[in-house]
């Protein structure tokens, strides 16, 4: 149990170090106000930060701490890119965008940059990927790295999977399929939930009651469980038509998630419906379509846009989870959830070939990175529009 003794020793050293630092600071500076009024927690924070830096440096020089070095390098590069991107945004573009970039935190800049990169990858996957997504090569399970001495091939920098498809290609195509399908599903959910929600707000009465109760019941079933149940039935309906199952999945998840959109659209719509300008439009004799599209929708864009970002994250994660469990996006389409499941056992080779162990994490990390990026941006947008400065 040397691991736990080490942890305990380091914790004790940090606790003692903080006390020592404050005491020495008082003694050496002749009880300067800064040290005199310093709470223990602040001293602890300083010492813990120093300990973390030292620990990181020690870890950095360890020969087998490859993942730590990669993580730190990735973090620094990402932060630098986000900084450059924000700097560029402050000087290029129209007055409005420059103003937005001026108050933007680094996390939001990183989020926007990441979403742009994903969008480019998804749209131009066919041009960027070296091969076709279902193209099978002679040698399966080729090691990544492109080093012929260790069983790689420069033509396949990330190696090949269990039936010999190029992994770099499938990673790039995953952006198109996984993100594209999630995006289409979210759009469908918004079309359905948004229009029904606004209709319920405008019409009210029994229509509103009926829809709201139905949505209440649907929301009482955990969404992943409900999706799995419906996918069981859909897979029986689809039979051997794999592509049909993907279509069914889009519809199923869109319907399940549209209930959440319905709730928000109805709540926002109800606040707008009582406004005077709606009354005026009704007196003018405008129809339902005009009311919804010309009066309510423009006034509900901000909350709905933020919800779109969050909803996309949920849909994206649900689809990834379904694919990971083996009932989501079907082969031969390349997608990240399925890739994680297929490559998962490579993790056990981390000690021998870190790059091979990183493969499943790359696919899973691609999913995580996009949702983190969207969340960063949504967080910033919400913070900006609500004017919260806590």
């Amino acid at each position: 149990m040397s691991f736990w003794t080490w942890t305990l020793a380091i914790a004790l050293a940090v606790f003692g170090g903080a006390w020592l630092m404050r005491a020495l600071g008082r003694r050496l500076t002749g009880n300067a106000p800064y040290f005199r009024d310093m709470p223990y927690a602040v001293a602890f924070g300083y010492v813990a930060a120093v300990a973390a830096v030292i620990g990181g440096a020690v870890l950095w020089v360890q020969p087998n701490a490859v993942f730590f070095r990669w993580a730190v390098q990735g973090f620094v590069i990402a932060a630098a890119l986000a900084f450059v991107f924000r700097l560029a945004g402050r000087h290029i573009g129209s007055e409005g965008t420059r103003k937005a970039f001026r108050t933007m935190p680094l996390t939001a800049a990183f989020g926007i940059l990441t979403i742009l990169v994903y969008a480019v990858l998804a749209i131009f996957a066919g041009l960027l990927a070296p091969y076709g997504q279902a193209e099978v090569f002679a040698q399966p399970n080729m090691l990544p790295g492109g080093d012929p001495a260790s069983g790689g091939d420069p033509a396949h920098p990330l190696g090949t999977d269990q039936i010999g498809r190029d992994l770099l290609t499938r990673l790039i195509y995953g952006a198109q399929n996984t993100v594209g399908i999630a995006f289409a599903t979210t759009c469908l959910a918004f079309l359905l939930g948004g229009s029904l929600g606004f209709l319920a707000a405008v019409i009210g009465g029994w229509f509103d009651n009926l829809l709201s109760r139905a949505v209440d019941v649907l929301m009482a079933i955990p969404s992943l469980i409900f999706a799995l149940l419906l996918m069981t039935i859909a897979s029986a309906w689809a039979g051997s038509e794999r592509w049909l199952l993907t279509i069914y999945m889009i519809v199923i998840i869109a319907v399940i998630d549209s209930t959440r959109v319905f709730r928000l659209a109805r709540a926002v719509g109800q606040n707008i419906v009582v406004m005077d300008y709606i009354e005026a439009a009704k007196l003018r004799g405008e129809g339902l379509r005009y009311l919804i599209f010309r009066e309510i929708l423009p006034n509900a864009t901000a909350p709905l846009l933020a919800e779109f970002g969050l909803r996309f994250c949920f849909v994206f994660l649900t689809i990834a989870a379904l694919s990971f469990l083996g009932v989501g996006i079907q082969p031969p389409l390349a997608d990240w959830g399925t890739m994680v499941r297929d490559l998962a056992q490579f993790i056990n080779f981390a000690a021998f070939s870190p790059l091979a162990a990183a493969l499943p994490l790359m696919a899973a990390g691609a999913i995580a990175l996009l949702t983190v990026a969207v969340n960063f941006v949504v967080d910033w947008v919400l913070h900006r529009s609500s004017g919260l400065k806590d």
Partner: protein, 331 residues
């Protein structure tokens, strides 16, 4: 107090009603399957006579409402039906007694395991999240607060399997501290069982912590602007004591609410995590049954998940009613 009892009674009735409607949905959905149980059991080479015989035996020739009623009353008596896969296996091995073929026999021990996992997770996650929330409210807008916020956003938006594999990589493969497979079985010592459950529990902790932590922080910070906190501060009470003794009790209602909601969320998260760690819980059984279309098991699992989800949400509702004086003493 009677009005509270009335509200809670209403909520309970509403919960029961929801559960009833869900059972209708589940039953209807399963009845939309092409073909029926008889064909599914017998497979492709079934003769029409055999199919008709099984249909008669199982009552599949009855009208929809009659079948639904008998299914529901069986469920209420705790008879969850017979698993297709286990029944086939029993016939195959010549074991006609079908003792292990009922869904109940399959789900029972696994349900216990899942509850164990959820319990361990809750015991780690709730103190951790509330503590972190209190600390980041205390040191708001400091580097610690910002770091905790980024950590929370990152962990809430990562898929469960990403967190699981990262933990496996660092805690099981590179530094073999914990086992990466949670193959627990009956009669295992408590210590070892706990050790094998720890990695899935840690993963789930990461998944649910963020929401609880942010809610704790927000609830406390909301209160910090109120006059009585100002008063406590002016009396010269230390910041930590202001938060723990003065702000926290009033912030408890939203915190308990969000804890219950996150425990309900655990139920969904448990499915993926159990599959990653090969943990013999109900979630893994559910996914396996979905893949082989073992309908009785899927139905039963679905109903159990939904019931647990409704129950926890109901508890969140009831706690927030009980802790809100405005609802307890309506005008």
């Amino acid at each position: 107090m009677s009005s509270v009892a009335k509200i809670i009674g209403q909520r309970l009735l509403l919960g029961l009603l929801t559960l009833f409607v869900i059972s209708v949905i589940i039953f209807t959905a399963v009845n939309m399957l092409p073909g029926d149980f008889a064909q599914a059991v017998l497979g492709q080479g079934a003769t029409p006579e055999a199919v008709a015989a099984i249909r008669r035996d199982l009552g599949l020739d009855q009208p929809f409402l009659v079948r639904y009623w008998s299914w529901l009353s069986d469920m209420l008596r705790g008879d969850l039906g017979t698993s297709f896969a286990q029944a086939n296996f029993a016939t195959f091995t010549g074991n006609e007694s079908q003792a292990g073929a009922t869904v109940m026999a399959q789900i029972g021990p696994r349900f216990e395991n899942t509850l164990f996992l959820a319990g361990v997770t809750a015991m780690i996650a709730v103190p951790f999240a509330v503590g972190l929330g209190i600390l980041s409210a205390l040191f708001r807008n400091s580097a610690f607060d910002k770091g905790a916020n980024v950590f929370a956003l990152t962990s809430i938006s990562s898929p469960e399997f990403f967190l699981a594999y990262v933990l496996i990589l660092f805690l099981a493969v590179l530094n073999p501290i914990l086992p990466s497979l949670s193959n627990i079985y009956e009669g295992m010592g408590m210590g070892e069982r706990l050790q094998r459950t720890l990695l899935p529990a840690l993963t789930l902790t990461l998944v649910v912590t963020a929401h609880m932590m942010r809610m704790t922080r927000a609830a406390i910070i909301n209160l910090l602007a109120s006059p009585y906190i100002e008063m406590a501060r002016l009396k010269g009470i230390k910041p930590m004591r202001v938060i723990v003794r003065h702000a926290l009790p009033n912030a408890l209602a939203p915190i308990i609410n969000v804890i219950a909601i996150n425990l309900a969320y655990l139920i969904t998260g448990v499915v993926v995590v159990e599959v990653v760690f090969v943990y013999p819980g109900i979630g893994q059984l559910f996914v396996d049954s979905v893949k082989i279309r073992d309908i009785p098991v899927v139905q039963a699992c679905c109903l159990i998940f939904a019931a647990a989800y409704i129950l926890l949400n109901l508890m969140a509702d009831i706690f927030s009613i009980l802790s809100n004086p405005r609802l307890r003493h309506p005008k």
